[in-house]
Symmetry: C2
Subunit: 420 residues, 2 copies
């Protein structure tokens, strides 16, 4: 990529960048509650759903997002069968808007409907949320809407919410930044590997589960969590959203506050440019597919969970999680290369997300769009992969290099703003 | 060290070594029960205690072992106060014998009395056991015998045993080799860092804890485990003992089946030389002391838990646990050096204890006394450090190079045997 050092020198606002980094690196976030989405945001309704990524028109949504909306309409009782749900979508009788605009986040398709169960995080200034993780054996976020998936979701939105919220309200407060920092010490990068962090959540909830009058439900919740190594993901990303919100809206700051994709477009928001999305076509990357899956069946990158990397963990702390590399396809040696690269495009180093194998050095934090422009290095993320058709679910995982164009455009916009 | 390649070529029995390695690497071990020591061995009695390390005379025991015996006599009701306990010891009115001879193991002082709570492991051929871990805030194994320590031990031997054994009997079988292998993927080396493995045990026990009629006790047990990052250690070392017993007694095999120390002497047993101990004075190593502790206050290396390294984890898998290095004093880079060194003295590579950061390469397994002799490299272990006086408890942890002399002597004895 061409480097224009003179322009960069003119326009980079180090003080603004450091203000954003300081917010990312110091904001405290606790687990607030577990509830249904409608209890935490007014931006959902029976025919108003949230979705992952930058804005997208209903007639443009990719297959798994369509599958997830079908699932949502069935789950909410707005449609009695798939045909009715499809008619609602095709008739435009439903509104969709980005999770990010509601202070929420959804992994993969990111469809959030009023009664879906969410984990809620809270900082001094912001409340954020993300849907509880359904596992990978059929999941609305991957576009599944079969009976088993919907039955599980109903159970999660009732019994599981009751058991988990009882644990949150009755237990010691859970510092979500600490939870993720501890995960990095236990071999998780906390975006696609969260097995030790999920175990830690079970440990934190266990006293309440044991005390609970809802013994049967609590036992089922504990067993479900134990069998779902991604269960801690919504807790991690709602925390990350609270960090990035704290870093947002700093005048002149080139620090990225959101990376996100809807399966058509990948987009970023930058602190100094507020809510504006800078977009490019969603990438496919080099996924490791599940047996039998074909690369041509894949939906391009989709989901809000890359807020992990935006906040300084996930692929940005991949050296903390060498065991993930065989899951996403790669080597521990490559992980080191990725983290080193990310250091060259970040404005800071985390004092909280430390990487043991790097002698407890902090992970790179605060992607600086000017540095991306200077180096020509775009961020990498760890992500899941959905089939391109509704109802076909998960087909892989991988390490994806996101498109550089949105970063270049944001850098240019900030520079133009500084010049004007 | 001098190398005598000719002698080695004459005497090394590769087939025998590989037979021992195969046993170390293939034996299955499950968690059998949690109970009191007298329920699993007849080698304990009111005045017959087990101790860590090779045999030692009662009038030779180091301070923390004396403290632990005092604690044991008080715990068993054999002495009504410390003075009475000391009189029993000084009068020789108690017998002590090595844990190893009872198929058991004790961390640090390793004193096991009839009513102490133990975790019991079982392979096809052997039953092994080790005392439940009391934590580091006063512990009999570190020589403490204050009221708080004894009250906790009483609770552990009653309520905790009941709750845990209920979980073991009522839950899915726990494969202890898998538990430790998973720990290596979660940043534990499973000798001095077991925090993720302990969390995993809580996860495995949680359904039973939730179902238990003993809710109050179960909640207390879960909380105690959550606060004690070494809780999984006896589960790990009783497993390791079962592995090393399977590797023992192979004619001509130079593979080490026990490393152990009693605070005076460090000793090893070797497969081809049966129950014979080869000993040298216990080393002190380069400990990382707790604040305020002095090097001159330390008890030389003591304990049976270095069976971890003997079985192919602990310091031998230290690269799996970079976060431990700041606990024992060292760097992640040093860890890599240690593991590489250990590869040069081991007869095999584990197919079960895999190290993610080494691209899932197995840990070195099966210390070969001839290789120690050839290379002049003695094994390293991660270990805890006790104060030299009774009742003063834990004062540090460290990485210790064990003495090479017992390995040389064992190699010579095997060679002499082969020649005769």
């Amino acid at each position: 990529m061409p480097v224009n050092a003179e322009l960069t020198l003119t326009t980079t606002d180090d003080a603004a960048a450091q203000k954003s980094v300081a917010a990312l690196d110091s904001t405290k976030v606790r687990l607030e509650r577990v509830c249904t989405a409608r209890e935490v945001t007014s931006k959902v309704g029976p025919r108003s759903f949230l979705h992952a990524g930058p804005p997208i028109r209903l007639d443009q949504i990719p297959g798994p997002m369509r599958g997830a909306i079908i699932g949502g309409l069935l789950f909410e009782g707005e449609a009695k069968d798939v045909a009715e749900a499809e008619a609602i979508i095709d008739g435009g009788d439903i509104e969709i808007s980005p999770c990010h605009d509601a202070g929420g986040l959804g992994a993969m398709a990111g469809i959030i409907t009023p009664n879906m169960p969410v984990a809620v995080a809270r900082s001094d200034r912001h409340t954020t949320f993300a849907p509880l993780n359904e596992g990978t054996d059929g999941a609305v976020r991957y576009g599944s809407y079969d009976d088993k998936t919907l039955a599980r979701l109903r159970w999660m939105s009732t019994d599981m919410v009751a058991v988990l919220d009882e644990a949150v309200q009755g237990g010691e407060p859970i510092d979500l930044v600490d939870l993720i920092a501890e995960g990095l010490r236990r071999g998780d990068e906390c975006h696609n590997r969260l097995i030790a962090t999920t175990a830690n959540l079970i440990v934190r909830f266990a006293p309440s589960f044991i005390r609970s009058k809802r013994s049967d439900a609590a036992e089922k919740v504990a067993a479900f969590m134990a069998g779902n190594g991604h269960f801690a993901l919504p807790f991690a990303i709602s925390m990350a959203k609270a960090l990035t919100l704290a870093a947002a809206d700093v005048s002149g700051s080139p620090v990225v506050t959101a990376m996100s994709a809807n399966g058509r477009e990948f987009g970023i928001r930058v602190s100094g440019t507020g809510d504006r999305w800078f977009v490019a076509p969603s990438p496919i990357g080099e996924p490791k597919l599940v047996p039998g899956a074909r690369i041509e069946d894949i939906t391009p990158t989709m989901g809000d969970s890359m807020i992990s990397e935006t906040a300084g963990f996930g692929a940005f702390a991949m050296t903390a999680a060498p065991a993930i590399m065989s899951f996403v396809g790669g080597t521990a040696e490559q992980a080191k290369g990725f983290v080193d690269e990310m250091r060259s495009i970040c404005a800071g180093t985390s004092s909280r997300f430390l990487i043991p194998v790097e002698e407890h050095r902090g992970a790179p934090v605060g992607i600086d769009v000017h540095k991306v422009r200077e180096t020509g290095i775009a961020p990498v993320i760890n992500n899941g992969m959905a089939h391109r058709l509704p109802g076909h679910g998960r087909i892989g995982a991988g390490i994806t290099r996101v498109p550089i164009e949105p970063f270049l455009a944001a850098s240019e916009a900030l520079s133009a703003g500084a010049r004007s």
